[in-house]
C-alpha cells in the first residue's frame, strides 16, 4: 500500500530583501544619508521540490546560509513563500533552539511556565511535568535561580528540555526540528538528548531535521536532502547523500 504523503513541496522559492552597497560619489552619499538604504533581492530558496511520506524522516544538511532554516520556517508557515506551494497534511510543530527567548531576569521556574505556554502546554500540564522538565535539564538546585545566573550550557539544557516535553505532549503528526541542540553540552546530556530525538522520530511520525550533526541525521533519518545556496544539490537515501556531502567537504579541508 502506498503511504500517504504528509508534506508536498513544489517549486518553492523564497526571497529576502537584503541591504546592498552601491558605488556612489560624495554628493550621492550625502543625499543617501537621508534616504533609505538600497536593497536587492536575495533568493534564499530556489525551486525546491520534494515530498515526505508518512513515517519518513528527512534530514537536511548543508553549509551555513544554504537555506536550511528558511526552508523549515517556510514549511512551518513562519515565512510566506514567494512562489508555488506547500501542502501539509496533519498537525505540524516547528521547534528550533528556544534559548534566546528565555527571559534573563526571571527564575528558571517562571521561564518554564512562560516557555511552556508558548510551546502550547496548558498550566496544568506544566505543573504536572514541571519536575520532569527540571530533572531532565539537571537543574534541581537552580529552580529559583535567575536565568542570567546560569551557565550557557545550563540554559541550552533548559530550553531543550522544555521543547522536548511540550513536543511529547502535543504529539503532532509532523515535527520540524531546527538544530535542536547547540554546541556546548556535555557528553551525558548530548546522549540523553539524542535518545529523546530518536524516540520522537520513531514510529509513524514524520520528521524533518536540520542539523550539522551528521551522526544525528544518520541515526534518525532514512532520507536526506543536501542544500547549497538555496538549491537542492542531491536528495535520496540518507547514507548516500551524506557520503557525497562529506566527500566534498573533506576535499575542501
Amino acid at each position: 500500500m502506498m503511504k500517504e504523503k504528509r508534506i508536498i513541496v513544489e517549486n518553492l522559492s523564497k526571497k529576502f530583501r537584503i541591504g546592498a552597497k552601491k558605488n556612489r560619489n560624495a554628493l550621492a552619499q550625502l543625499v543617501s544619508f537621508f534616504s533609505k538604504n538600497t536593497e536587492k533581492d536575495f533568493w534564499a530558496l530556489k525551486n525546491i521540490s520534494f515530498s515526505v511520506k508518512n513515517g519518513e524522516n528527512i534530514g537536511i544538511i548543508g553549509k551555513n546560509g544554504s537555506g536550511k532554516t528558511t526552508l523549515l520556517r517556510t514549511i512551518a508557515g513562519i515565512y510566506e513563500p514567494d512562489k508555488a506551494g506547500i501542502k501539509v497534511k496533519g498537525n505540524l510543530v516547528y521547534l528550533s533552539n528556544l534559548s534566546n527567548g528565555l527571559k534573563p531576569k526571571l527564575t528558571v521556574r517562571d521561564n518554564i511556565f512562560l516557555l511552556g505556554s508558548i510551546t502550547g502546554l496548558g498550566q496544568k500540564d506544566i505543573k504536572k511535568k514541571f519536575n520532569e522538565i527540571v530533572d531532565f535539564a539537571g537543574l534541581e538546585n537552580f529552580v529559583y535561580s535567575k536565568i542570567h545566573q546560569l551557565s550557557s550550557g545550563m540554559i541550552q539544557r533548559l530550553a531543550f528540555s522544555i521543547s522536548i516535553y511540550s513536543l511529547k505532549h502535543s504529539n503532532p503528526d509532523i515535527i520540524l526540528l531546527d538544530e535542536p541542540f547547540s554546541e556546548g553540552n556535555d557528553e551525558e546530556f548530548s546522549r540523553k538528548a539524542l535518545n529523546e530525538i530518536e524516540e520522537l522520530t520513531k514510529y509513524e511520525r514524520t520528521a524533518i531535521l536540520v542539523s550539522h550533526k551528521i551522526d544525528l541525521i544518520k541515526n534518525c533519518c532514512n532520507k536526506a536532502i543536501w542544500l547549497d545556496k538555496g538549491k537542492i544539490v542531491k536528495q535520496g537515501k540518507a547514507d548516500k547523500v551524506i557520503e557525497k556531502y562529506l566527500k566534498l567537504t573533506n576535499k575542501i579541508i
Partner: protein, 260 residues
C-alpha cells in the same frame, strides 16, 4: 465545528497572553525597591500635582479630584497599552522567529499588563469615592465602560503594533502625538474650555477618548447616565477601531517574522 475551533483559538490567545503579561509584569518589578508600590505611587503623584494647582486649572468643576483622577487613569491606560504595543512584536522576535504562534497574543498581553496596573488605580479611585462622599457602588458601572474602552484601545494597539514593525520612527511619533492628545483631551480642565479655542469644528466630538472618559465620569462622579449620543458614539468608536485595527494586523502579521 468551526465555532469550536474559533473558541479554542481565542482561548489559546487569551491563555498565552496572560502568561506573557505575567512574565513581563514580574520582570518589570524584579529588583525594584518599591516594586508594585509604584503602581500606586505614580498615579498618586500625578493626582497631587494637579490638586495643588486646582484653583488655576480646575475652577468650577464639581468633585474635581474624581473628575481629574478618572481622566488621568483612563488616558494613562490608553497611552501605556498603545506605546507598549509598538515594541511588543520586536521585543519578542526570539519567539516569533522560532515558533509558530498567534501573534495577536502579544498585543493582547500588552493590554492585559495595563489592566493589571489599572487595578491599582481603581483601588485609589475607591478611596477617592469614599473621600468625596459618593456611593462606592457607582463603581459597578465602570466595567461596562471599560469593556468598550478596552476594545477601542486594543484596536489602536493592533495598528500601533503593525506600524511599529515597519516604521522605526513610529514610536517617537506616537510619543509626541499622545502628548498632544493628552493636552487636547479635557483631563484636568473642564471640557467646555475647548470651545473657547474657536476651532472651526468641535474637537471633543472627534476625540474618542473624550467619549469614554466623559461617560465614566458622569456615571461614577456625577451619578447620571450620559446622553445617548455619547454612548452610541463610544460604542461605534470602540467597535470600528477594533475591527479596522484587527484587519490591518491580520493583513501584515505573516510578514512580521521577516522584518524583525
Amino acid at each position: 465545528m468551526k465555532a469550536k475551533i474559533f473558541i479554542n483559538k481565542i482561548k489559546g490567545i487569551l491563555g498565552l497572553s496572560l502568561q506573557l503579561a505575567k512574565a513581563d509584569f514580574k520582570q518589570r518589578n524584579e529588583g525594584s525597591f518599591l516594586g508594585i508600590l509604584w503602581y500606586l505611587l505614580e498615579p498618586l503623584f500625578m493626582l497631587f500635582m494637579f490638586l495643588m494647582v486646582r484653583n488655576v486649572v480646575g475652577q468650577g468643576i464639581p468633585n474635581y479630584p474624581l473628575y481629574l483622577f478618572l481622566g488621568l487613569i483612563m488616558f494613562n491606560f490608553f497611552r501605556k497599552t498603545t506605546s507598549d504595543s509598538i515594541k511588543v512584536i520586536t521585543d519578542n522576535s526570539g519567539f516569533i522567529k522560532s515558533i509558530k504562534l498567534n501573534h495577536e497574543a502579544f498585543v493582547v498581553s500588552a493590554l492585559l499588563k495595563s489592566v493589571f496596573s489599572h487595578f491599582f488605580e481603581i483601588i485609589i479611585l475607591l478611596f477617592l469615592l469614599v473621600y468625596s462622599g459618593i456611593s462606592i457602588l457607582n463603581i459597578v458601572f465602570y466595567p461596562l465602560v471599560f469593556f468598550f474602552f478596552c476594545f477601542f484601545v486594543l484596536g489602536i494597539s493592533f495598528f500601533a503594533a503593525t506600524l511599529g514593525v515597519y516604521l522605526k520612527d513610529f514610536a517617537n511619533l506616537w510619543r509626541v502625538f499622545t502628548r498632544l492628545l493628552w493636552l487636547a483631551t479635557p483631563i484636568f480642565y473642564a471640557s467646555k474650555l475647548i470651545s473657547k479655542l474657536n476651532l472651526p469644528f468641535d474637537f471633543n466630538s472627534l476625540n474618542p477618548l473624550y467619549y469614554f472618559i466623559t461617560i465614566a465620569r458622569e456615571c461614577i462622579a456625577y451619578n447620571k447616565v450620559s446622553q445617548l449620543s455619547l454612548i452610541i458614539g463610544a460604542v461605534i468608536f470602540s467597535l470600528s477601531f477594533f475591527v479596522l485595527g484587527f484587519i490591518v494586523f491580520e493583513k501584515f502579521k505573516n510578514k512580521f517574522s521577516e522584518m524583525i
